[in-house]
């Protein structure tokens, strides 16, 4: 499954609790929508590390990397390419 689909599926099922594709825009801020709290941040890090076999450095836990589907996809792709 491509990165985008994997990330979308996880966020929809675990944070929006739905399989309705229209419920999630790839550029929507997860924090601004109130979907992510401090536990959610940890959960997202665990998810990308486990799903894509990458290691997230604490310095990389920033909104530019993790606050929307498209930012997460770009971050994961960058990490995989590194």
């Amino acid at each position: 499954m491509e990165t985008n689909k994997i990330i979308r599926k996880h966020i929809m099922e675990s944070f929006l609790f739905t399989d309705d594709e229209s419920a999630l825009q790839d550029n929507a801020s997860l924090i601004a929508q109130g979907l992510i709290d401090s536990i959610g941040i940890m959960e997202l890090v665990e998810f990308v590390e486990g799903s894509f076999s990458i290691k997230v450095d604490p310095k990389e836990i920033v909104p530019d990397n993790l606050d929307s589907v498209e930012k997460m996809v770009a971050f994961v792709e960058r990490k995989k390419a590194a």
């Binding site: 739905t18 536990i39 604490p58 920033v62």
Partner: protein, 629 residues
């Protein structure tokens, strides 16, 4: 009706029927004062005034003396009897003379009027409903259900309130048409009409009209009041124990009780197998400091999940936390140790300013004065250290989440917006049908009912008021308090909720409750000489219990699987089966759950339990208020 209240009064029962068949009073007794002579209902000299009473009038000794002086004749030494004579002497204002915790049903046959009264802050429950020709009242909803011909309906508005404030707003209960007498209220049924009045409410100074005095003198006054509030709560003809959590509030109470060396004090506490919830080390420190006879038990996750259905049978309402269940286990320990009365420290945080939500509101107010400030919101990291785990992401989260309402810091609910927002996140699981039944926003309804003076109070006092009128009365004292104590026929007594303590504390300047971010400043000052320094300065640890992991960490539980199944969720209709399915899947995966998800899942499961107990099995309700298997 009475058998359904047996657990609240296993030591005896009695009935008074008016000769004209107009009214009937029933009572089940937990005998604590005047063990031989205190049978109820009780009456006045000429048997024209009758009372059924649950609770305690702690100043009955002084009241009895003054009523005797005024010419009243007593036939017992029980606190209950002062009620009828005080009513004769003072009329409807009699309740103002009581220092206690109570629900009172009083019948005045001369004037053909019935009074239903509840204590000032909501320690003792009192519910009622109206049928076509009757007003029926009781200390438990199950008792009322025995008088209904069909199952009650769960109120959508109440679910909306629970998934906002954690509690329904008084007088609402879970069920449509069933209400509670609100704390500090009196209902009078006379000539077929029901009239409600408020005899007491939380109130704070306007402007700067706070108490004058040095910190030391006010601390001395607080300590004197607390000492007396504690001592009159030791009045009983049975031994009195105390809960000892290891925190400041219960430790202070135990220290005050221990001032009287003639009392061989027995204390009780909970320890948790999950160390993140455990306070045993602090409990042990106080046990050694005061040399009390202490008993504790170790609460395991499995016992919470196993006993959760019994908890909900007693709360008679959905809850968002599992914390009440260990409290029922604790009261069982008390009862099996031969005790049926305990003093406990609830109320100190509301009355004297102890909660993190008060600190959070203070920081948010500070931030709201300079909304563009980058460092002011970061003070929240001092309050919630876990926010420091990931600097970049956390800072954005803090700006978004804790910045809620920052543009309107004077709005009534400002102090509680973050809690309400998190809790209301659980409404994502409401079914379309439930959402369609909701009208006005829960917070908007709350704002309409606030006292006129509310907006003129200091923001700290406003936060105290909201906390006392929602979470304290509707959850801490009920679901986690009285219901869990009485599940095992144990009475709790609450010195910090003595109305003299509250009225004194309400007149203290907010800076004496929270100095900077140092909570309960004046209480710490008042009790500094009585307690080990470590107890006084330790960071406050709120009482919590393992939540969702308790239901999914071990083997599959039949009732959890059944009640959270798609078919049951669909059948009961309150929650969206698909969304709940994803939530359950997430919980079963075993990862960390957010506060919202935790509360939502416990709330959904407990709603399902309520429907199962009180609606689906309504026709199996027996006279004991129990349901057949």
């Amino acid at each position: 009706m009475l058998p359904a209240l047996h657990h609240r009064g296993p030591d005896g029962s009695g009935i008074y029927m008016d000769p004209h068949g107009i009214v009937g009073l029933g009572h089940t007794r937990l005998s604590i004062v005047d063990l031989e002579g205190g049978a109820q209902p009780m009456h006045n000299e000429d048997r024209t005034i009758w009372v059924s009473f649950n609770g305690e009038i702690f100043n009955y000794v002084e009241l009895r003396a003054s009523l005797l002086k005024a010419g009243h004749q007593f036939y017992s030494h029980c606190d209950t009897e002062v009620i009828v004579h005080a009513y004769e002497e003072y009329g409807d204002d009699f309740v103002q003379h009581f220092n206690g915790q109570f629900s009172i049903a009083l019948w005045d046959s001369r004037k053909q009027r019935l009074l239903l009264i509840r204590d000032r802050v909501g320690i003792v429950p009192l519910f009622y409903t109206r049928t076509s020709d009757r007003l029926v009242f009781a200390s438990g909803i199950k008792s009322l259900l025995t008088q209904l011909t069909e199952a009650p309906k769960i109120s959508p508005a109440t679910l909306d309130e629970i998934f906002t404030f954690w509690v329904p707003r008084s007088p609402n209960t879970l069920f449509e048409g069933i209400f509670e007498v609100s704390p500090g209220h009196m209902l009078v049924l006379e000539n077929g009409a029901l009239r409600e009045s408020v005899y007491w409410d939380w109130s704070f100074p306007e402007g700067n009209a706070y108490l004058d005095g040095s910190d030391d003198s006010l601390a001395d006054e607080l300590r004197s009041l607390l000492l007396d509030a504690t001592q009159i709560r030791l009045r009983a003809d049975v031994p009195v124990g105390a809960y000892l959590s290891g925190g400041l509030d219960s430790s202070a109470l135990v220290a005050l009780i221990s001032k009287d060396a003639s009392i061989p004090l027995r204390t009780f506490s909970i320890g948790f197998a999950d160390r993140s919830f455990d306070e045993s080390a602090f409990q042990q420190q106080m046990v050694e400091h005061l040399n009390v006879n202490h008993t504790s038990f170790l609460c395991k996750n499995e016992s919470i999940s196993e006993q959760f259905p019994a908890t909900i049978a007693h709360t008679e309402i959905p809850i968002l936390r599992t914390a009440p269940t260990p409290m029922a286990q604790l009261s069982a320990l008390v009862r099996s140790s031969g005790y049926k009365v305990v003093l406990t420290g609830e109320g100190a945080d509301e009355v004297l300013g102890g909660y993190d939500i008060f600190k959070e509101a203070k920081i948010r107010q500070f931030w709201a004065r300079r909304p563009q400030s980058e460092w002011r919101p970061l003070l929240l990291k001092a309050l919630y250290p876990y926010l420091d785990i990931s600097k970049g992401q956390s800072d954005t989260y803090i700006q978004n989440f804790y910045g809620i309402g920052l543009n309107e810091p004077d709005q009534p609910g400002f102090s509680h917006l973050t809690r309400w927002f998190t809790t209301a996140g659980g409404k994502i699981f409401f079914s379309p049908e439930l959402n369609a039944a909701l009208r006005e926003d829960a917070a908007a309804r709350l704002y309409q009912d606030l006292p006129d003076a509310f907006r003129r109070w200091h923001p700290f006092n406003r936060a105290q008021y909201l906390e006392a009128k929602t979470l304290m009365s509707g959850y801490l004292l009920c679901s986690q308090g009285d219901r869990m104590l009485m599940a095992n026929s144990v009475e709790g007594r609450f010195p910090y909720l003595d109305h003299r303590v509250i009225e004194f504390a309400n007149r203290l300047p907010p800076r004496l409750k929270m100095r900077g971010l140092n909570e309960k400043y004046l209480l710490k000052k008042a009790m500094a000489k009585d307690l080990p320094q470590q107890i006084v300065v330790r960071h406050k640890q709120p009482y919590r219990a393992p939540g969702v992991p308790a239901f999914f960490s071990s083997q599959s539980l039949g009732y959890v699987d059944e009640l959270l199944s798609e078919s049951k969720l669909k059948c009961y209709g309150y929650y969206d089966p698909k969304k709940v399915g994803f939530l359950v899947k997430k919980a079963r995966a075993g990862g960390a759950l957010s506060a919202r998800d935790n509360m939502a899942l416990v709330g959904i499961l407990s709603t399902q339990l309520c429907h199962y107990n009180f609606i689906e099995r309504f026709n199996q309700l027996d006279q004991m208020g129990n349901y057949g298997n």
